[in-house]
């Protein structure tokens, strides 16, 4: 749930002089904004779907590293307050009953639209990942196993595929931590290659929330933390969803 951000200047009410730039967002009233508690955000976002597949579950393609770490965190969901974030084919499935702010509403709801990191259906071929979120610390862990369709350098994951998953993990974390919605800035420093089929662990933290913007950081490393694959940071704009009275 996030993507392109708007310039902060527009948010704060400076009417930009850029040719063709329309005033896209309503003025925010800080006093009333973002009233949803984290609990309600988590429960709204993480509601299990009765129809449609939840991709954040193990399948036959998951290697032993990924499986064992997954089970470790599953235990923590019972004891330490961690939440396993379900993952559906489209972000629309996460926000049933709600919709994007008016200016961001797309014209039609085509059923063949897919979340980028869930675009490759075949098990083990593309993105295999699951995100666990810790509400009290505003942090997430994402377990990532890249498949052969994500190749860049022969035998290794394309940097763009990692960038996309970091952005995606940022997005889920930002939303659950305070309705962060759109990426405004994204910075990534690549350090080492991730071999296809191996496990990479993304550690995401919310560093700061200020002026309707959320600042997040991510370190991607091997399970034993001996190899750092990449470091990234991102800035997200907070935007509350609107109630969708047309949906049942």
């Amino acid at each position: 749930m996030l993507r392109r951000g708007f310039q902060a200047a527009v948010i704060l009410g400076h009417h930009g002089a850029r040719p063709g730039a329309t005033h896209l967002l309503p003025r925010f009233n800080p006093a009333s904004a973002f009233g949803s508690s984290m609990e309600s955000l988590v429960s709204r976002f993480c509601q299990e779907m009765t129809e449609g597949k939840n991709y954040a579950l193990p399948n036959a393609s998951w290697g032993p590293d990924m499986l064992s770490l997954y089970h470790e965190f599953l235990e923590k969901t019972k004891t330490d307050g961690w939440v396993r974030v379900p993952s559906f084919r489209s972000n629309r499935d996460h926000i049933r009953g709600f919709k994007l702010p008016l200016e961001l509403s797309a014209n039609s709801d085509k059923s063949d639209w897919r979340l980028f990191t869930r675009c490759i259906e075949r098990e083990g071929q593309g993105y295999e990942y699951v995100i666990f979120f810790q509400p009290s610390e505003k942090k997430s862990i994402c377990l990532f196993q890249p498949g052969p369709y994500l190749e860049g350098v022969p035998g290794f994951a394309h940097g763009g595929s990692l960038a996309a998953l970091i952005d995606e993990t940022f997005s889920k974390t930002a939303y659950l931590s305070g309705e962060g919605l759109l990426t405004v800035n994204f910075n990534i420093r690549f350090k080492n290659l991730i071999p296809l089929g191996s496990l990479a662990v993304l550690n995401v933290n919310v560093e700061k929330i200020e002026d309707q913007k959320m600042y997040l950081s991510c370190v991607t490393q091997s399970r034993d933390q001996q190899t750092v694959y990449a470091k990234a940071s991102g800035t997200f704009l907070q935007m509350p969803l609107e109630e969708d009275s047309s949906q049942h």
Partner: protein
């Protein structure tokens, strides 16, 4: 920051000779002749119009093909698979043998070409070697969604990486991404066409500093701006 290409610096994108998926090494080895039954599939050039391309996209494509006529611009072909020989060459030169898993070589495909027509990344890159800049025409399909109706930031980041990489490869040959910094200004609607203009800002030894902007076809909307640092690979040094 990067000190050398060996220990500190890795990453994904190796654009060999600026032809994605069909690398030519800087040592210019001729490909060993091989016969595969799927040879035609392997060598299909994906940077050519197909029915999923919108009218805008085709018009812009034709405009740039015209610019290629006098030789100042060049359209870069784009392949889904590297031939096995070329993959082997790359691994021999740049990677430690024990770290490369052999089993799944035949299943891999370049990330940005793993989709059916129109569903994922539809793009073509035109290169101006004298001016050291590239123009990438990109149409993002419905499988690249983030917020419903709009392109995923990560998909845009992947294309920016691709576009900057193609530009870095003009002077740099085989290059890899070190850093990317992207400022998103406006969300890009799914299935719209954008133009990514990339240029080389600075060259320092093996470090290439580039920047790009992403605009609508009529240039009135600025979707994002980005900078990147790429590293020219040294055939004497292993990456792993």
């Amino acid at each position: 920051m990067l000190r050398s290409c060996t220990a500190g610096l890795r990453s994904l994108w190796a654009l060999c000779g600026r032809r994605e998926g069909a690398p030519r090494l800087s040592t210019d080895l001729p490909p060993a002749p091989r016969l595969f039954s799927t040879e035609k599939v392997i060598h299909k050039d994906w940077s050519l119009p197909n029915p999923s391309w919108s009218k805008d996209f085709k018009l812009l494509f034709d405009q740039f093909m015209k610019k290629c006529e006098d030789g100042s611009w060049e359209r870069l072909p784009s392949y889904k698979h590297r031939s096995t020989q070329k993959s082997e060459d790359f691994k021999t030169y740049f990677l430690e043998p024990k770290l490369v898993k052999e089993e799944r070589v035949s299943q891999v495909q370049l990330f940005t070409r793993g989709f059916e027509d129109g569903l994922g990344f539809e793009y073509v890159i035109f290169s101006n070697n004298d001016e050291k800049r590239t123009v990438c025409l990109f149409q993002g399909g419905p499988y690249l969604q983030g917020i419903p109706g709009f392109l995923h930031g990560g998909a845009m980041a992947t294309m920016i990486d691709t576009a900057l990489g193609s530009c870095a490869a003009i002077p740099g040959g085989i290059v890899m991404t070190a850093n990317l910094n992207i400022n998103f200004k406006r969300p890009v609607p799914i299935c719209s066409v954008v133009v990514i203009n990339s240029q080389l800002d600075k060259l320092e030894g093996r470090k290439l500093f580039l920047s790009c902007n992403v605009r609508s076809v009529d240039e009135k909307t600025l979707y994002s701006e980005a900078t990147g640092l790429f590293i020219k690979l040294d055939p004497e040094k292993s990456l792993t």
